[in-house]
């Protein structure tokens, strides 16, 4: 929503900035134009908005003070962790405050007896595992950016990762949070015990992309480190065969900890970037990781190997130690960045399909690629159908960026057509809000807005994200057609 100076209690942004300086201290508030540029985008760099003000609170109280000050002034705010998001979820608001949580990086408690950790939102994902490792525990959700992404961002985006197939997503691992609603109300939701009385507000908040408020403390589940981990890399002549092997493994009742696939173009990129030494001539590489009790892992590993060979794998490598295991993963984890070696520009798409239509959708993507001349490299979480097509283009060639955008969008349409989703782990953010009406009906979106209006009637929390055109709160649901009356009279703008 466009910030309306008249409704800000007369203070306006300038007044708010001064107030924030008073509350947080001058060192925690940035409004210098040059320094603000550092924060003008997150991991999706082609959207850039310079925020009006950036605050770096030193503690949870500072976040609460900031949200309250924004509420009082009617100024929108956006929370940002490490800024690694890939959907523009932490894109700043030009007339708003960007709340950066990087200084809230204390691990408050590692509690193995309760299998929980309590952390501040700016804590880096992998640091939880590092802190819990001595007790034999780890934090399971592992986005590829886990060495740098923050847990607060993970909560906002309901982040996933390679091991989500077996262990679930952020939402399955967050059991408590301290939360600031957009009106400044501070609520403690859940904790170390399950099933807090009442509605599952925590479940609603995780994955809401910062549009319902800001978390200032998070309680997460710690998972017992497995007795054994075994990793296998299988090379197939084609994607079809690798896909069939994937289905056979799952069909046999095996639930791998991770199951990742790359096509020839993605392999080429990874080789160019990190020299991972994947088998020559592979049309597809499948990485399967099993973990759990040693006896189970050994038997299932043999089964996985059998299914891979049965579906045409011409080479199978088995990691004998952590170093070899890391080599397998290096190619996969570097794939996004690696395509930069084979293409000047690329779009990282994030769509999901039911695993059983994998072969068909990949064929359709290939057809799209051939008919448009836009190359597409495929890297994905095969076990849960989460595709990450990398759409390659050269911005210097007139019209190619537009064609790449079209291909990228058409891939999402394919996902929807096959009963899938427009995002599996990167979020909707700024980037995909326009695709939401392709996946959801007006009534579906309207119903989601009921939740938004309950938490944030004034639309101050991360406005403009997730939804293309949210109705204004207080409007009768389901009756809104065309421009809103407030819009037509110039009182409000679409946000």
């Amino acid at each position: 929503m466009k910030f309306d100076q008249a409704s800000a209690g007369g203070s306006g942004l300038a007044g708010l900035t001064e107030r924030l300086r008073g509350l947080l201290g001058p060192d925690s508030v940035i409004d210098d134009h040059q320094r603000l540029r550092t924060y003008e985008c997150d991991g999706l760099a082609h959207y850039k908005v310079r925020p009006a003000v950036v605050v770096l609170p030193a503690d949870a109280a500072g976040v609460v003070d900031t949200v309250r000050a924004c509420a009082a002034a009617g100024v929108p705010f956006v929370a940002r962790g490490s800024g690694t998001g890939l959907s523009g979820g932490a894109l700043p608001h030009a007339d708003g405050v960007l709340i950066v949580t990087s200084r809230l990086h204390r691990i408050i408690e590692i509690d193995p007896a309760n299998q929980r950790a309590v952390v501040e939102p700016g804590v880096v994902n992998l640091d939880i595992t590092r802190s819990a490792a001595a007790d034999g525990y780890y934090y399971a959700p592992d986005p590829s950016s886990q060495q740098i992404c923050s847990i607060g961002g993970n909560v906002a985006e309901n982040s996933g990762g390679a091991h989500c197939l077996k262990y679930g997503f952020t939402t399955n691992h967050v059991t408590g949070a301290q939360f600031v609603a957009p009106d400044g109300e501070v609520v403690r939701l859940g904790g170390k015990a399950p099933d807090p009385t009442g509605y599952d507000l925590l479940g609603a908040i995780v994955g809401s992309e910062g549009t319902l408020g800001v978390v200032t403390e998070v309680t997460v589940r710690l998972v017992r480190a497995p007795e054994a981990v075994r990793t296998l890399l299988a090379a197939f002549p084609t994607m079809d065969e690798a896909g069939a092997a994937t289905s056979a493994i799952i069909g046999a009742g095996v639930v791998p900890a991770a199951m990742e696939m790359m096509d020839a173009l993605a392999i080429e990129a990874a080789e160019a970037a990190v020299h991972c030494g994947y088998p020559d001539g592979a049309g597809a590489v499948l990485i399967v990781e099993l973990d759990g009790p040693a006896a189970e892992v050994e038997q299932q590993f043999a089964e996985v190997e059998r299914h891979c060979r049965g579906h045409g794998a011409f080479e199978i490598r088995i990691a004998n130690d952590d170093a070899e295991r890391a080599t397998f993963w290096r190619g996969r984890k570097s794939a996004f960045a690696a395509v930069g070696r084979i293409s000047p520009d690329y779009i990282v798409q994030d769509g999901v399909i039911p695993r059983t239509v994998l072969a068909e959708v990949l064929r359709r993507i290939d057809e799209l690629s051939r008919s448009t001349g836009i190359r597409v490299a495929n890297v994905f979480h095969a076990g849960d159908g989460n595709l990450h097509p990398l759409v390659l283009f050269d911005d210097a060639v007139p019209g190619e960026a537009e064609r790449a955008e079209e291909v990228s969008g058409a891939i999402l349409d394919l996902c929807i057509e096959h009963g899938g989703s427009i995002t599996g782990e990167h979020g909707v953010g700024s980037d995909k809000a326009k695709f939401m009406p392709r996946m959801f009906s007006e009534s579906d979106l309207d119903t989601m807005q009921l939740l938004r209006c309950a938490f944030d009637p004034d639309g101050l929390a991360n406005p403009g994200k997730v939804f293309p055109t949210p109705r204004l709160c207080g409007e009768v649901p389901g009756r809104h057609k065309g421009a809103h009356p407030l819009q037509e009279t110039g009182i409000a703008e679409v946000f």
Binding site: D111, A113, G160, D195, L201, S421, T423, F440
Partner: protein
Amino acid sequence: MRAVEDLVLDTLAATTAARRAAEGDRVDGVEPRFVASPTTTAEAAQVMRIAAEHGLAVVARGAGTKLSWGQPPERVDLVVDTSRLDQVVEHGAGDLVVHVQAGVRLDVLQEHLAGARQRLGADPVLPPAAGSGTAGGLIATATSGPLRLSHGAVRDLLIGVTIARADGTIAKAGGKVVKNVAGYDLGKLLTGSWGTLGLVTEAVFRLHPLPARARWVSVPVTSTAAAHEQAQRVLHSQVVPTALELDRPADAPATLAVLVEGIEAGVEGRVTTLLELLGGDAGVAGEAPPWWGRAPWAAGGVALRLTHEIAGLPRLLDAVDDAGRRYGLRPAVRGSAGVGVLYAALPTEAEPEAVAGFTRHLRDSSPAWSGDVVVLDAPPPVKASVDTWGPARGLNLMRRVKDQFDPQRRLAPGRFVGGI
């Protein structure tokens, strides 16, 4: 008046099977006027629209196994009976997901899934005499049984949901893929919302493979400290339990039982490890103990849900004993000690004042184990004398959510926390 009643009934009957309510349709003692039994989401939505037009208060009913849980609704005009919404819409065996209508019975569903060697990893705790519940009831009440330790709670297994809103609007959230972050996760909001936000008509769940082998290792525990130590030993070990349950009857020794599942060789190895871990009194069985997955109360008894941080188990059990001594009650306690959800039963004949005192005492000491105390079910005089739901953090936000979804307060009014 009669004419209006007839008109409403005619309107409902034009949409779907509808009739006047009978004695057996009472909802926790409250008498409804009509019962409608839709067979599709579209019919259910039409029923909700009619209810909205006539200002009817609506309570959804599946198999009715938990219809008396929570507070009695302030009023009920229309019971929406989901028993004809009983279809398995699509079982994507290769994708390990199933799409069902809300009224599908869980035993029927599990049998269907077992044909593909799969299961829904939710096994709701039910009173011993009750039959199977439905998928919709599972979602509405969010009760989880032993499998929760390994498979997650209902909230974790529900990946897509379709509802008919209070005004009859049909809306869906989520979908049929496991990995999906598009839009708000309304499924979580609806799970455990006791029918107060919308009528769930369809649901999509993720599934798990059925294990080849299952073994139960049980050990008697003679003190709260021992129960705790044994539970911690199992949880921190590498035996990867599917479930870890405690049964402490009112007048018999307590037992801790661990379910281990997987392939044959693996299970036998882990059973051996468990027997060593738990000591000489531990024994192994190929079948679940008779109390496994059953609520500890008799029909019409007083039922409590006690949540706790895992290591808070001994403090919670000690507090239960303290409260029991103080109020002359001998509670039976049973449930998922490895998760932190226990159920307690007080005798049917317990005095309302004693139950109220017992509950209050537990709530006062609950910071010691960091959990909540809810009186799920009880005879009417007990419900009248005790704050059944107890305090809830975030109640203000919950009320705002309710106001948005059901501004006229017609969906199970008064049944849920804080009078929602």
